[in-house]
């Protein structure tokens, strides 16, 4: 039920965000979602990519500090209150959220929220109990056709 996200260490210097993206693009790896968390001194580039194993190897070979981590992808229900209902459900589980970002789901008018919780296993359990729709790795692949 978990998907793999890549985190790449990014210095606060020009070119530090473009470089890993270009590297992946050159190798034909698709970036599904990307988000930058930054501090005064450095940033962490978080990505969901089409082939995280090849992407990790490529980026490491190019000298980047990469860490694959598991995160949860949650489908946002359709309808005007889809997002707020989902967030309410998450909040009710009393899970501690580390970070979150969103990306569109395939070509349909849908969205996915990527969540990192401090206790991922507990999160899976409680969210499933709450009837939240976790998107699996396989489902993502199917949607994108790769």
């Amino acid at each position: 039920m978990k998907i793999t996200q890549l985190s790449v260490f990014a210095e606060n210097k020009p070119g530090y965000i473009i470089a890993p993206c270009r590297r992946l693009a050159d190798a034909g790896i698709r970036i599904r979602a990307i988000s930058l968390a930054e501090t005064k001194a450095f940033g962490v580039l978080r990505m969901i990519v089409s082939d995280w194993k090849s992407a990790t190897r490529l980026l490491e070979e190019s000298g980047f500090m990469v860490r694959p981590t598991e995160v949860l992808a949650i489908e946002v229900p359709e309808g005007p209150h889809g997002l707020s209902e989902l967030l309410l459900a998450v909040e009710k589980t009393a899970l501690n959220i580390e970070y979150m970002y969103a990306f569109p789901y395939g070509h349909a008018d849908k969205g996915i929220l990527v969540f990192q919780f401090d206790d991922l296993d507990a999160a899976v359990e409680r969210l499933q109990q709450a009837g939240v729709n976790l998107v699996s790795r396989e489902a993502l692949q199917e949607i994108y056709g790769d």
């Binding site: 930054e38 000298g63 500090m65 981590t69 990192q116």
Partner: protein
């Protein structure tokens, strides 16, 4: 600790016979050689002769070892000012080898060897390696750079002299170094301490446990290193890590070496005269006191150096070593006098920063100190390379780590430090030696 032959402290090796010379005899050898080298430099090196003249001093006035204190110092600037060949004391047709320093600042310095000088160099390196048990049958991986730098060839010839199998791996290409360590099964490694720590780090990432490999001892030098670095190396690689001290100006590696007691480095006193001076006043300090190491080459022909100020902070250790060697010991060099930084009036050494990084689980001593001045106030930034162990997808966790490092450094250095995490392998390294300080203060 893995099994295999560790040197037993008292196992006598014929290569090391001179290390046990009776003290009286040793001092006599030193005096004879000192007088000869002073005469040679006087005869052949104009700069030395003019410095002697300024002091109204003649070579024949050097009658005892303590008279050495009367002789003028040689400093690194002298080598630069006379670049490239100005301090040579042999004609080029007798010079069979040239080496040069890395020259991170300005012009490099050039050093020269006659055939006899190379023989001395090889012999002191063989003595150094034999002291810690290197012998025929050992396979040696030499990760010092081959080239103008003295490290590669100096170690190479010493190990070969002992009949060991030498792998001239040279520096860099860390994954290949690890492959060689795994596939060729070296029992001995040579490296700068920081580069070896880098190898250790990479091996860990690749899932290679160096403790499982046949390597049992390592010789480290070419830059100051601390006890904390030693224990990190010994634990991570399951080896004994020995200090082998030297500098290109004097001969290259091979001035002094630790014995298996790891209690100070034995100076090859029959070839090098060591003094400790107060770096401020230039006065010779008594045995045991800390100061700047000053070395005189006693037997080198192509480029004898008289009272060369090494800038390395050390002390001559009193008493005799349990190994029975009569040649005296110097304390391992952990810092250099020109490393000292004055930040907001506080004396700071890069080795202190290093010690903090080594105490933290997950950080490596790959760092750089950047000094700037904002509104007349010194700012000290320490850039630390992020490692696989500390890198996290959670920004908060890394910020906490940055803060902890800053706090710990402030404790030790007594001055405010801003710690910045930087990308791996971004800190400039030359010859495998790290450049530690960038001072951008405009004073």
């Amino acid at each position: 600790m893995k099994t295999g032959t560790q040197a037993t402290p008292h196992s006598f090796r014929p290569e090391c016979a001179l290390d046990y010379m009776p003290v009286q005899e040793l001092r006599q050898v030193q005096l004879n050689r000192l007088r000869a080298v002073v005469q040679r430099a006087w005869d052949r090196v104009p700069l030395f002769r003019s410095r002697m003249n300024e002091r109204g001093l003649l070579p024949e006035q050097i009658r005892s070892l303590s008279d050495a204190a009367k002789l003028p110092f040689t400093v690194k600037a002298d080598l630069r000012d006379t670049y490239p060949f100005g301090l040579f004391a042999a004609p080029m047709r007798e010079v069979v080898r040239l080496h040069a320093s890395s020259g991170t600042t300005g012009k490099p310095i050039v050093v020269a060897y006659t055939q006899e000088d190379l023989e001395i160099w090889t012999s002191v390196m063989a003595r150094a390696l034999a002291a810690c048990g290197v012998q025929e049958g050992d396979i040696v991986q030499n990760a010092f750079n081959y080239g103008l730098f003295t490290g590669g060839l100096g170690y190479h010839y010493g190990a070969e002299r002992l009949g060991a199998t030498v792998i001239p791996a040279s520096g860099g290409n860390t994954e290949r170094q690890i492959m060689i360590m795994r596939d060729f099964g070296p029992t001995v490694v040579f490296s700068t301490p920081t580069y070896f720590l880098h190898i250790v780090d990479r091996a860990e990432q690749l899932g290679v446990d160096l403790r499982e490999l046949p390597v049992r001892i390592g010789f480290f030098g070419a830059e100051p290193w601390t006890d904390a670095m030693r224990s990190r190396i010994e634990q991570a690689a399951g080896i004994k890590a020995y200090d082998l001290y030297g500098l290109s100006e004097i001969i290259g590696p091979g001035v002094s070496v630790e014995c298996p007691y790891q209690d100070g480095s034995h100076i090859f006193e029959d070839h090098f005269l060591a003094e400790i001076i107060d770096p401020e006043t230039g006065q010779v300090l008594p045995e045991g006191e800390e100061g700047e190491l000053v070395l005189t080459t006693l037997s080198k022909q192509a480029m004898p150096l008289i009272r060369y100020r090494t800038r390395d902070i050390s002390a001559l250790m009193p008493g005799t070593c349990a190994c029975g060697r009569t040649i005296r010991r110097m304390r391992r060099v952990e810092r250099r006098s020109d490393d000292m930084l004055i930040i907001r009036g506080v004396n700071v050494y890069p080795s202190q920063v290093e010690a903090v990084l080594l105490e933290f689980d997950g950080t490596q001593p790959h760092y750089q100190i950047i000094l700037t001045r904002e509104q007349d106030l010194d700012q000290m930034e320490v850039q630390v390379e992020v490692t696989q162990k500390i890198f996290s997808d959670k920004v908060a966790a890394m910020e906490v780590l940055q803060k902890k490092l800053s706090d710990a450094m402030r404790q030790v250095l007594q001055t405010r430090v801003q710690v910045t995490l930087v990308a791996p392998s971004t800190i400039q390294r030359s010859e495998g030696k790290a450049k530690r300080v960038i001072d951008r203060r405009k004073i």
